[in-house]
């Protein structure tokens, strides 16, 4: 038996998802061990092997794909628990990361604090050197300055140094020479070069990506080496892969070369999960949502590709590299409902989290949350929550909604609870609109894929509100992103600047650039163990009208070599995209190009779907899993009878018509009148949304 395994370390739990080559899924949750994170992995692997009735070594020998997502890098940044680091920069420019892009958000909030950098100013040391925008050296590197800076770094005991010089992207010689000197002066200290981490124009983003990389590098290096040692000792002979923010994974070596890719990588696994489920139903346009306890994360997937963003920030610091664009709003099961000073009902962004959690958990929470509202309305069965592992207190939910919402607003309990749901739904609808309608994309042709423990309760209503006709809820909704890690591909993103107009561009220069990027990227994937036929290359370009300030990243569909016809095609696709997003295009103008990008993907074999028959087929008829009915409250209609179904007793191809509630182990799916659910062969739930 062969396995693929996804391990996602979170603050509370370390989640294990194991898929065998028949597609059967095993889930395991181990308590995280924040002091020594590999301990939880060691224990969890043993437990998983145990539950599969095999020894650890034997199990690991059967694992042909090991993908690990870890919040260790992200937490080091969020908690500022990383080491003291240094920055070497061009003299006269040590405040690039302090001055940022000059933007202060919230213009009317005069009490907003300025973001704190990850390297203190006294350790941001300028050295004399200068390169111009064409790569010519206009001032040679002062090696004395570098050695002097190294002395300060040594005295202050820095654990890593980022080197980020102006225009190192067109001529990295000075950065490389400075790194050599640091290696002599500070043996053992880790050094990050901006020209390697993010070879793109814009010094703030590049410096920030380098500083964040240096900041997390010592921690993840030690951790990943320990992990590798553990796995090797335990009998795993392959190399583990690490989840990245770009939605794919990469080898440990690759991550240590460009650590910033490991940041905020958890939610980036969502599109892989959505695409996996969608493969069977030929969907390529999807909106993936993940609703957990505190946040609602939305990703748009168009033509089988997740939307990417190059403006992602973590702790208000830009990461610079392109990451899966996750639009996140503070709406989850734990989001707290409150009345503002003008008497308006608000929900979130404050959340009751896991502790104390919603009032109905009975763990001391007294405020009304979204989960409490769902209990009051009758959508969540108190006994069946989390597969029966947690009983919910309906009385506490009612009291919270009554005291904090119904009484202040002067409405009855049901209206208050329905109001909480309506307001939180509206926030989620707005979040979906933000990634679709507001980008000129009509969501009505898209399928909604809803993950997260709370997703199934809300998704059908969201889809209806947006005019979306189909909804997919995976059975693994509660461990959506961990599952995504088991079905990702290896992905490397590379880029080079080449500033040119489409009207005057030299196709030969573009072709040479792509050839260079592609050869390097292919070699990396071959080194990772991929065969040439498993490798896919995607190309894109950052483009704008001449002298326009902001760019759009455009996919280039045809492979090189490029000639004038392909440049015309780029122009056309830019005009089209610009018009779609901003209502107008100026088609008589050429296009200005800035960076040319490739994404090299090493395709993993497609994971099988579990073909085992479901249990309760009766006489060839799929079992409906119906176990009874219950009254629940629907806004504007009052108490309605909902059929109650249990996932464990559902047959394949079973069909459920709303109004109904399907209780699955890690989520509850709420179907309204007119909705029809079809159980899929892979045990996910495909729902046709009824008309209004």
């Amino acid at each position: 038996m062969a396995f693929r395994i996804g391990i996602d370390i979170g603050g509370t739990f370390t989640d294990f998802t194991v898929v065998d080559d028949n597609g059967a899924v095993t889930l395991w949750k181990e308590d995280s061990t924040p002091e020594h994170p590999v301990q939880a992995i060691e224990r969890g692997l043993a437990a998983v092997a145990d539950s599969l009735n095999t020894g650890l070594a034997e199990f690991l020998q059967g694992v042909d794909l090991f993908v690990h997502g870890s919040t260790i890098a992200t937490n080091a940044v969020i908690q500022r628990s990383g080491p003291r680091i240094g920055l070497l920069c061009t003299e006269g420019f040590r405040d690039i990361i302090h001055l940022r892009d000059g933007f202060k958000p919230e213009r009317f909030n005069i009490h907003l604090r300025h973001p704190v950098e990850f390297v203190d100013r006294y350790l941001r040391l300028g050295v004399r050197e200068r390169i111009d925008h064409e790569g010519a050296v206009t001032e040679t590197l002062s090696e004395d300055d570098v050695r002097k800076a190294a002395g300060h770094f040594r005295d202050e005991d820095v654990a890593a140094v980022a080197i980020a010089f102006l225009w190192s992207i067109v001529n990295p010689d000075h950065e490389r020479r400075a790194a050599e000197i640091l290696a002599e002066e500070l043996p053992g200290t880790k050094v990050i070069l901006s020209s390697e981490v993010l070879p793109e124009i814009r010094e703030w983003e590049r410096t920030s990506a380098s500083v964040l990389s240096a900041y997390i590098l010592p921690g993840i290096d030690a951790y990943l080496r320990k992990l590798e040692a553990l796995l090797e000792d335990a009998g795993f002979s392959r190399a583990p892969l690490i989840m990245q923010i770009n939605g794919g994974c990469a080898s440990v070596e690759e991550i240590l070369r460009r650590p910033v890719f490991a940041l905020a990588s958890g939610p980036a696994a969502a599109p892989a999960a959505a695409l996996h489920y969608a493969r069977n139903i030929d969907a390529t346009n999807m909106i993936s949502v993940d609703m957990g306890g505190t946040s609602f994360d939305v990703c748009l997937i168009r033509d089988g590709r997740a939307g990417m963003s190059r403006t992602i920030q973590i702790e208000q610091q830009p990461i610079g590299v392109a990451g899966v664009e996750v639009h996140s709003v503070g709406a989850g099961g734990g989001s707290i409902a409150w009345i503002d000073s003008g008497g308006a009902l608000r929900v979130g962004p404050r959340s009751a989290g896991a502790k104390p959690g919603p009032a109905c958990y009975g763990l001391g929470g007294s405020e009304a949350t979204v989960t409490d509202a769902n209990v009051v309305l009758g959508y969540l069965e108190p006994e069946a929550f989390l597969g029966g592992r947690r009983a919910l207190r309906r009385d506490l939910a009612e009291r919270a909604v009554m005291e904090h919402v119904a009484e202040p607003l002067g409405v009855d309990l049901a209206r208050a609870a329905a109001g909480i749901i309506e307001v939180v739904d509206a926030g989620m609808v707005d979040a979906i609109r933000a990634v679709s309608i507001e980008r000129g994309i009509d969501p009505r042709g898209f399928m909604l894929v809803a993950g997260g423990g709370a997703g199934g309760l809300h998704a059908a209503r969201l889809a209806r509100k947006l005019g979306m006709k189909q909804l997919l809820v995976p059975q693994e909704a509660g461990t959506y992103c961990a599952f995504g890690m088991t079905v990702t591909d290896v992905r490397h993103d590379h880029s080079e600047p080449l500033h040119t107009l489409t009207s005057t561009a030299e196709p030969a220069a573009i072709n040479a650039l792509f050839d260079r990027l592609e050869r390097q990227a292919r070699q990396r994937l071959i080194d990772d163990g991929f065969s040439p036929e498993q490798i896919t290359i995607e190309r894109s370009v950052d483009a704008r009208y001449p002298n326009q300030v902001h760019e759009l990243t455009l996919a280039i569909e045809s492979p090189p070599p490029y000639g004038h016809n392909e440049l015309r095609a780029i122009e056309h696709s830019f005009h089209r995209e610009h018009e779609q997003r901003f209502t107008y295009a100026l088609t008589e103008l050429p296009i200005e190009c800035l960076h040319w990008r490739i994404t090299a993907i090493g395709r993993m074999p497609i994971a099988a779907h579990d073909p085992r028959p479901l249990e309760s087929d009766v006489d060839g008829q799929p079992a409906s899993g119906r176990v009874g009915e219950r009254d629940a409250c629907v806004a504007g209609e009052g108490q309605i009878s909902f059929a109650i179904h249990r996932a464990g007793e559902l047959g394949p191809n079973a069909v459920i018509d709303g109004p109904a509630i399907l209780q699955a182990p890690t989520t509850t799916v709420l179907l309204m009148r007119g909705d029809r659910l079809h159980v899929q062969a892979d045990r996910s739930y495909l729902i046709d949304i009824g008309a209004n």
Partner: protein, 618 residues
């Protein structure tokens, strides 16, 4: 169904209207062509109802928050009875309710089922408006004919048809025709987005329902604003500021604010301010209305919507013929910053007496935002760029140090500077330095944001530099015991002999190929007594060279060692602080205008052979 009884739909529609205004904002920002809109974000988007009441304005430029409705009312009045579906209106006339000539308003009446229901409106500051110098803000302009093209309320689309002749007239009168055409398209795209979204909102909820909730949203802001203003003690409070110059030769023009707080109503009266100046550093009616109100928008919960219900609580009086509200045909080209920023500061100085926990210290007033122009040596093609990379900083407020690169109270930091590499790629300039200036900020328990030293040179022969601004000789004030920022300045230096020409905040100079430009912007004013600042923070400020050891000792009373990473000398600090505690502390500082045109900072910098030029014209 009564509106008041349904707070849930209320929240949904409130958020949706904000989302629409936000989407209009993003559309304009992302698709605009010139940095002044795309990066400086010198524009605002808003939605009005059929009674021209402001319903939603989101992340807008403060100076537009309470003034945009004035020009919209003038447009609607001018075309009363002739507002048709498919029309788009334009106006930039400061004597017809606009802020200043550089701001171009585009307004689209939104019809739903054939009936006028809303207005979708943007106001954007253009890179050029056809003034006698290549800038849309010309300090030395002496009247409306020198400051640029006046656009009275007119239609640029008539029943859905673009009036190409009118658009051509506009574009024929401005420089950078193609860029400005792109910016106009971006503004039109933004108001069209607003229209589409408002129509679909009405489709979804019903027009009457949406209109009813719009009403409720105004009442809601009214309630919240009223509640907050009632917490401020009633009384009459006074504050005085000075603007450096009138743009020609007048100096230290006083701005007098008398603020009367009575219950939930505020009157800001600028009676007693100096007469209007010869140049363009004069307020317009619209900027006077906003400048008096904006400080109060900073005092309230930022969550309160800036709609009619909120802004109607503040009344502003600015007599015609004063520097705050000039009489036709005076130029008001600089009005949104000078004197508007000082008018805000005067209110903050006044309110320091009433509500010291709410006020903010003085901030930079747009000095050090140089506009450079020249021609590419190879092609002869003209280039021009405005730099936001070295602007002055924000003042401190209670428990909050100021931000750098705030630019002005008018912009309130909501702008983006272009990357240095991007600038060097697009323009023939070399940036030689961009770093914090030590000791540039006002000291205090909270310190002002840091000023920046920005220096650069042309790589392609001579270039011109045009600046306008204020607050150099009369620097950003410290408040509640805090100290002022340095004021800062700018100069052009000759490489061979080191001789420098210092230039006042506003000016126009030529920079020869063997010269380079240096701007040193002011830090913000400080808040609270510097002796109360946490000594560990002061130690770090010294370590990080934000402040010098001398300043730490003499002003903050903090003594540290001379190490690379200095240590705090606890005993010496305690002694020094008790010694300094004997000195008297002013509530606001300064309380008098600058002694001369140079101001303190420039005077201290001048070396032998250097000169100072006040409002030079090239």
């Amino acid at each position: 169904m009564s509106v008041e009884s349904d707070p849930i739909t209320f929240s949904v529609i409130l958020n949706r209207l904000n989302a629409i205004a936000n989407e209009m904002t993003l559309t304009l920002e992302q698709s605009a062509w010139t940095p002044i809109l795309a990066l400086c974000r010198d524009f605002s988007c808003a939605i009005y109802d059929d009674r021209l009441r402001q319903i939603a304005m989101y992340d807008a430029l403060p100076i537009h928050t309470t003034s945009l409705k004035i020009v919209l009312k003038e447009i609607a009045r001018t075309f009363e009875g002739r507002v048709n579906e498919g029309d788009v209106f334009m106006c930039n006339d400061p004597y017809r309710g606009n802020t200043h000539v550089g701001d171009v308003v585009t307004a689209l009446p939104v019809f739903v089922d054939g009936e006028l229901r809303f207005w979708s409106v943007t106001k954007g500051h253009q890179l050029d408006i056809g003034a006698y110098l290549p800038s849309s803000v010309v300090a030395s302009a002496r009247n409306v004919w020198q400051e640029g093209l006046t656009i009275p309320p007119l239609k640029i689309h008539d029943r859905g048809e673009p009036r190409d002749d009118v658009i051509d007239l506009y574009l024929s009168n401005v420089r950078y025709r193609e860029l400005l055409r792109g910016d106009l398209m971006a503004q039109l795209g933004s108001i069209e987005k607003g229209r589409e979204r408002l129509v679909s909102l009405c489709d979804e909820y019903g027009t009457e329902v949406v209109m009813a909730y719009a009403n409720a949203i105004i009442d809601y802001a009214d309630r919240r604003m009223s509640e907050q203003l009632q917490q401020i003690p009633d009384g009459e409070y006074r504050g005085t500021c000075w603007i450096d110059s009138d743009g020609i030769d007048g100096l230290n023009i006083p701005i007098e604010a008398t603020v009367t707080v009575a219950g939930d109503q505020v009157i800001v009266d600028y009676t007693g301010s100096g007469p209007q100046g010869e140049g363009s550093l004069n307020g317009s009616y619209a900027t006077s209305q906003a400048a008096g109100a904006v400080p109060f928008l900073n005092y309230i919960d930022p969550d309160i919507p800036h709609n009619e219900g909120c802004i109607q609580h503040i009344e502003v009086i600015a007599p015609v013929g004063t520097v705050c509200n000039a009489a036709y045909p005076a130029s008001t080209s600089s009005a949104t910053i000078v004197p508007a920023d000082a008018m805000q500061d005067a209110v903050n100085k006044a309110m320091a007496h009433a509500a010291p926990e709410l006020v903010i210290a003085g901030s930079a007033r747009c000095a050090n935002v140089p506009q450079f122009t020249g021609s590419h040596a190879a092609t002869g093609e003209a280039w021009g760029v405005m730099l936001f990379n070295g602007t002055g900083a924000q003042g401190a407020s209670k428990n909050t140090d100021g931000w750098p690169l705030y630019e002005s109270s008018a912009a309130a930091g909501g702008l983006k500077a272009q990357s240095l590499e991007q600038l060097e790629l697009l323009y023939p300039i070399k940036i030689e330095c961009m770093e914090i200036e030590t000791d540039s900020m006002g000291a205090g328990e909270s310190i002002g944001g840091a000023g920046v030293r920005l220096s650069l040179a042309s790589k392609s022969g001579e270039m011109e530099c045009i600046t306008f601004g204020d607050g150099c000789s009369n620097p950003p004030h410290g408040t509640v015991g805090g100290r002022p920022g340095i004021g800062g300045g700018q100069y052009v230096e000759q490489r061979d002999n080191g001789k420098r020409r210092y230039v006042s905040a506003s000016g126009h100079v030529r920079i020869a190929p063997n010269e380079f430009y240096v701007g040193v912007s002011t830090g913000g004013g400080g808040y609270g007594n510097p002796l109360e600042r946490d000594a560990e923070l002061v130690r770090r400020d010294v370590r990080d060279e934000l402040i010098s050891r001398e300043t730490a000792k003499d002003i903050f009373g903090v003594v540290v060692t001379t190490d690379f990473n200095p240590k705090l000398d606890v005993a010496a600090t305690s002694e020094q602080r008790s010694k300094l505690a004997q000195c008297k502390v002013n509530l606001v500082h300064p309380t008098a205008p600058a002694a001369d045109a140079e101001g303190e900072w420039v005077r201290a910098q001048l070396r032998e052979g250097d000169v100072f030029l006040n409002n030079p014209v090239s």
